[in-house]
Amino acid sequence: MPLIRKPAGSSSPPSRDPVSVRTALTSGTDDERWAAARAAPDMPEGVDALGDALATEHSTRVREAIFTSLARICTARSVERVVPYLRSDDASLRTGALDALRAMKTVVGPYLPRLLHDEDADIRLLACELARNLPSEEATRLLCGLLDSERESNVCSAAVEVLAEVGGREALPVLERCADRFRGTAFLEFSIRITVDRIRAQSSPPRE
């Protein structure tokens, strides 16, 4: 019988010395940095060591592990360490940061009003996606607040995209005003029309 059964193995526990984890995060082989990134949430000051390491990490999988660990930590501090990477020129860092923030939906809420009114349109645009993870009423409120003062059509489109999923009837007048301001911008007009139709077509509660 070629099928064999072996006893369970054991793994050596990862190093728990804080100094070596910070060092291991920025030196050593890919495998060593990977292991250090995964162990960092259990270390004191792990969140800052992880945030710092992102600035210089070039391996995709180690970066992925760093973002996962920051998402696991899931505190205000981990949000603060990730947000700056939304501004990166490197598309994969931006994606990594946004994915990590998506995974921190329980703590990212308080940061959204500020992000949705950031002076950088790219940040406002990415922040609309984060509103998707909030309860519908809160997301609608925040996105409507953005739409009424937003000048960039791409940011409006990002907000409308999320409102197509979460928007309630209170969004209708805001959407109509937005359509008025951006007459002639084909894609935004199209998006608003679809979203308005979707919101209008919500069923009423059953008769009792």
Binding site: R94, T95, D122, S157, E161, A186, S191, I194
Partner: protein, 129 residues
């Protein structure tokens, strides 16, 4: 137009309304349209059904559009030579340069009009607009 003669394009964008808008525009002009929400899904679908053109956003979950185009260029032929059009809100010089480096063939800054999308799609697919 017979189904087999239609050129097949894939829209890779995490915004459902963008995919709808492009699908609307392109199907009306006789293209067959596939969709994917991010580069990983696109790669998976491409293995089953190759396309004449990829229309790709940059900011998408799990795998951004530039990493995706680069990943396509590293795969086996003929998949690796699939033309790729980037359509993105990102419109800086460094984004154009990064797109070229990743192997994209063309770049359009959003918002894209229906006419421009059709014009560029036809050109990259080698069909008349």
């Amino acid at each position: 137009m017979a189904e087999e003669a239609k050129k097949r394009v894939m829209v890779v964008d995490d915004a459902a309304l963008v995919r709808l808008y492009y699908r609307d525009t392109l199907e009306h002009a006789g293209f067959h349209v596939d969709e994917a929400l991010n580069g990983l899904e696109a790669l998976e679908k491409l293995l089953t059904a190759p396309v004449a053109l990829l229309i790709v956003d940059i900011n998408m979950p799990q795998m951004d559009g530039l990493t995706f185009v680069d990943a396509v260029r590293r795969r086996e032929m003929p998949l690796a030579s699939t033309p790729a059009l980037i359509t993105s809100t990102e419109g800086g010089a460094q984004d154009f340069a990064a797109a070229r480096a990743a192997g994209a063939n063309f770049y359009l800054v959003k918002p894209v009009t229906r006419e421009r999308l059709l014009e560029v799609t036809a050109m990259l697919c080698g069909t008349a607009a």
